[in-house]
Each structure stands twice: as structure tokens, then as C-alpha cells.
């Protein structure tokens, strides 16, 4: 029983991280049609910024704010400074992904140059374990699950009930039509990058908490499970990302725990990803993938 609680608990914690990250990633794709490989690097940079603030004495809440702000600013700058100008020049999607890779390299290595080849850890995470059903979890990680639930609900609320949400969906489906109908697509896109960037930054903070010690390239290494979650659920669909995150989080923890090999965690995510790509690359919720012609 204890093992089950441990598996489910750890699975939920991983799922929380992947969900927050995945929803941000998929939002960027949905609104601007860009597969942003630099997403992991932004997570890493935000995690590092939070670390610096945390090192200087700030508590986790302030660090979280810094992480969110860093993520938001970097993401907005990336879209405004690089993707948008190239898109205006009618650059193809392949060019855009190469650009995102370039940005990823630049970000990762700037963090490396500034922070050094060391591992960073947050302080003041709270010592007393939270006991749930007889198993102890670090309070910061329980907090992450809670925060993720709140954030997912907020995203859901925004998409369903706010004008912005409707505007985002309209822009995602048909930007010209949206513009012609009076939607301020430029503003909508900026906001989408700010919001997804904030999610990305928070995911970076969560990542730093969960792995305990991270370095300049940890963010990029999380790209694979994030992509796995997003592809599994269906790229461009935020509920898909949540579903994918939950699946990958739980399945990988269960597999690793049952087999007793912790390396299995990552490999299970990979296996799921490869399997999806071979069998059903458009994912479970395939609406956006089909619309964008991702699978021919």
C-alpha cells in the first residue's frame, strides 16, 4: 500500500511539472505554429534566475515570481525579436525550428558562462515532511502539485470563459479571419507568449525543486519528457498536454518502481514517445495536429 502511495505521489509530482511545462509549450505552438525547442532552455534560465534570488535570501514565493517573470520576458523577447521578424519574411517552419535551436544553445551557454559548470540547489524548501497516507513527501513537492492544479484550472478558466481565451482560439484556428473579425492578433500573440513564458518559468522552478540539484543543461534535458507528454496528448491541445503529462508521470514512476531501476523513468517516457510517433503521431487529441498538417 505504501508503495502504491509512493508511486502515485511521485507520479503526480512529475505529472505536475510536465503539465505546467507542457501546457505552456503547446500554447506557444497553438497560437504561433512554432515548435519552440528553446522552451527547455528558458526553463533552465528561469530556474537559475530563481536560484540567484533564492541564494540572496528570498523565499520560495519570491523566487517563484522571479522565475515566472524571467520566463515571461525571455519568451516574449524570443517571439518579438526572432520568430516574428522571420515569419514576416515568410520563413518556413524548418527555419523557425532551427532558430529555436540556436536560441536554445545561446541561452544554455549564457547560463553556463554566468553561473559556471556547477550544480545549483534551492534553499529554504521546508524541512518537515508532509505525511500523506503514511508516506512522507517533501512539502515543496506537495506544494508543486497544488500549484499545478491551481495553474491548470486558471488556464482552463482563461480559455473557456475569458475574451482572451476566445481570442487565442480564434487566432490559433485562423489568424487572418481572426484579424478581419477585429481580434487584435498581435496583442493576443504577445499575451500568449507572456503567459506561456510564465508557465515555462514556473516549470523551471518546479524542476529545480524536484531534481534537487540542476545545472545549465538540465532544462534542455527535460525537453524529451515534455515533448513526450505533449505529443502523446496531441500537440496544440492544452487538455491533451495535461492528459499526456498525467500518463507519462504515472506510468514512468510505476515502471521504475516495479522494475527497481530508476533509469527506467526516462526510458519509459522515450518509449511512449517513440511508440506514439510510430503509431499515431498526431496524438490522442489530434485536432490541432490535423489542422496544421503535421502528419501527412
Amino acid at each position: 500500500m505504501n508503495q502504491l502511495v509512493l508511486i502515485v505521489g511521485s507520479g503526480l509530482i512529475t505529472a505536475a511539472l510536465l503539465a505546467v511545462a507542457g501546457v505552456g509549450f503547446t500554447l506557444q505552438f497553438s497560437v504561433t505554429n512554432v515548435l519552440n525547442i528553446a522552451y527547455g532552455s528558458v526553463m533552465g534560465a528561469a530556474a537559475f534566475a530563481a536560484y540567484e534570488v533564492n541564494k540572496a535570501g528570498a523565499n520560495l514565493w519570491v523566487s517563484g515570481l522571479v522565475a515566472a517573470a524571467t520566463g515571461a520576458m525571455l519568451s516574449l523577447a524570443m517571439n518579438r525579436g526572432v520568430f516574428k521578424p522571420f515569419e514576416r519574411r515568410r520563413a518556413g517552419v524548418f527555419t523557425l525550428i532551427i532558430l529555436s535551436l540556436a536560441i536554445s544553445l545561446i541561452l544554455d551557454n549564457v547560463v553556463l558562462m554566468v553561473g559556471g559548470p556547477f550544480f545549483f540547489s534551492y534553499k529554504q524548501l521546508g524541512q518537515a515532511s508532509v505525511r500523506i497516507a503514511g508516506v512522507g513527501f517533501p512539502p515543496s513537492q506537495v506544494f508543486i502539485v497544488g500549484a499545478a492544479v491551481v495553474l491548470m484550472f486558471a488556464v482552463h478558466a482563461m480559455q473557456k470563459w475569458t475574451k482572451l481565451g476566445k481570442a487565442m482560439r480564434a487566432t490559433a484556428t485562423n489568424p487572418e479571419l481572426a484579424k478581419a473579425s477585429g481580434v487584435r492578433t498581435g496583442l493576443v500573440i504577445d499575451l500568449a507568449w507572456l503567459i506561456s513564458g510564465a508557465l515555462c518559468g514556473l516549470a523551471g522552478l518546479f524542476m529545480g525543486i524536484i531534481v534537487g540539484a540542476f545545472n545549465a543543461s538540465t532544462g534542455s534535458s527535460f525537453l524529451v519528457p515534455i515533448i513526450a507528454a505533449v505529443v502523446l496528448g496531441g500537440i496544440g491541445e492544452s487538455y491533451g498536454a495535461m492528459l499526456g503529462a498525467l500518463t507519462i508521470g504515472l506510468v514512468s514512476e510505476a515502471a521504475a518502481s516495479i522494475a527497481g531501476v530508476s533509469a527506467l523513468k526516462q526510458l519509459v517516457a522515450f518509449a511512449i514517445l517513440i511508440g506514439m510517433l510510430l503509431l499515431r503521431p498526431q496524438g490522442i487529441m489530434s485536432g490541432t495536429a490535423a489542422q496544421r498538417g503535421l502528419v501527412r
Binding site: F86, N109, A228
Partner: protein, 338 residues
Amino acid sequence: MSVATGWEFVAITMLVYLGVNLIACLGLNLQYGTAGVLNFAFIVFQAAGAYVAALFAVGPSSSSGGFQTYVGGWDFPFPLPWLVATITGAVIAVPIGLVGLRRLRSDYQAMVMLVVSLIATTVVVSFPGFLNGSAGIALVPPPLGTLLNPISVQYGWLYVGLTAVCCMVVFVLVSALARSPLGRNWRAMRENEAVAIAVGLDVNRLRMLVFVVGGAIAALSGAVLVDFISAWSPDAWLYPETFAFFTALIVGGLGNSMGALIGAVLVPTLLLEGVTLLPTFANPTVSLGLQWVVIGVVIIAFLWFRPQGIVPERKTVIAPPDNTAAALATGHKAQEAG
């Protein structure tokens, strides 16, 4: 492999690296420049070639103290390891191609292949019994090490010669293919796949073929490199390395061998390897990080200012049959087609 004097060491090292990078760039150029096939897992092929060449020359683990664990380990004479490595590159292109060459949108496919590359690294690192994990395989004996003293200057130049021979073979191969009807089919597939299918091209076969040939070439480059540096570990083939080769092609110019040469000189050789041979300033991490930042900036700059690269693809001009040439020469002007 160390040699007597300073400048010769630098020259030999730079030339071998240039050769290796040129071979790799020519292979990637065939895939991406000529056929328009995206292979963001390119470095995995070079790595496979390097590992196989190492395994076929290093002998069983016990012979070197038993502190490395890997599968196989034989002691075959040169050039057998290189040949097996090249074939391996061709062989693994098939399953990787099946995963990656499903008909996906180009950037989605790029992302898929990138993931394949990351997975390969993780698999090797997570299963240390396979290829000695993150420590990698070391103590690979130099080829023809019994003929000449491997630490002599002469051996160094011999190795440069071997590398040059491989370069020439690959160059001739790639040029011949590019000029052939097969090459034209690849370019047509690159330009407009739907029309290519309509005029009778089996694009699935064409894609897999270029993947296999390019994979073999990449693997050869790995074999040449590993025998020079005598060791190979996951650090040498992280996913950004593929990106460095793409940058080389974008800078040098796609679709032509001269562009590949210029790109190979400027990017992986000068920018990455050359910088490590200079006296490093202050902090080695800073110079390492700076290299990649420069690569990132260079590629963004080139894509903005000169996407066709330094040497754009050359047009294939075909002469008219003799009577038509005469007619054209006498000033027969066709009406301006409207």
C-alpha cells in the same frame, strides 16, 4: 596522439579534424542540401561509426585491465574497423529512418529526430554495460600502429594522408551522385514532393536511400575521428553537434560540395576545434560556452542576411543539341511568352 613539435601538432590535428568534418558535412549535405531530408539525429550516425570502429579495434575489455565494460571488442587490422563502421551507419539508417521519415511536417520531423538523438545518448549512458556508459571507450589502438611509431610526426602525417584519402573518396562519391539522374530526382523531391510523386518518383525509396548513404558517410567520419583521438564518449556526440554541422552547411551554402567545404572549415573546425587549441582566456567554461553562443548567433545572422550561404547551389546548364544551338545562335528569337 602527441607529436614532437608544437606547430606540427596543431597542423596535424587541425587537418584531421577538418577532414573529419568535411566528410560529415558532405554526408549531411547529401541528405539535407541535395535531397531536403532532415536528419537532426545526424550525430548518432557519426557516433555509431566511432563506437563500432572502436569496438573492432580495441580488443576485449580484459586485455586492457578490464575496467571498461562493453559488448564485443575485437582486434581487427586496419582498414576493417573503418569498413564495418561505414556499413553500420548504413544499417542503422533503416530503423531510424522508419521512425523519423514518416510523413511528418518538416519541423515536427526535425523535433522527432532530435528526440531520437537525445534518447540514444540516454540509452548509452543508462546502460553502462553496452558501451561503457558516460565514461566511454578509451585506449583504442591507432590504426597501422605497428608500421610507424604512433607518437611520431611521420605517423601524424600518415594519418592526415589517410583522412585525405577518405575525404577524396567521399567527395567523388557525393559529386557523382549529385550529377546523376538520381541526384536530380533527390533535388526534385526536395523542391516539390507532390509533383515529384506525380511524375513517377518513388519518394519513400529516395528518402530512405539518401538516409542510408548519408548515414554511411557520417559513420565513416566517426571512424576516422575515433582512431585519431583514441577514445569516444557521449560528451562527443550530444545533440548540439548535429546543429554545428547544420550551421556549417547553412553558412557555407547548401546543395554543393564547395559550400560544404567552406562550411566545414569555418564552423566545426575553426570555430569549435580551433578555439580549443588557442590559449584559453581566464575561465575554460567561458570559452566553451562562448563558442556555442557564437554558433547560435552566427546561424541566426546567416539565416537573416544570407540564407543561401556563402556559396549558393550552382545551376545545372545543359547544352542544346547541335541544330538547336545553331538556331539560337543565329538570333532566332522566340516570342516573349506572356
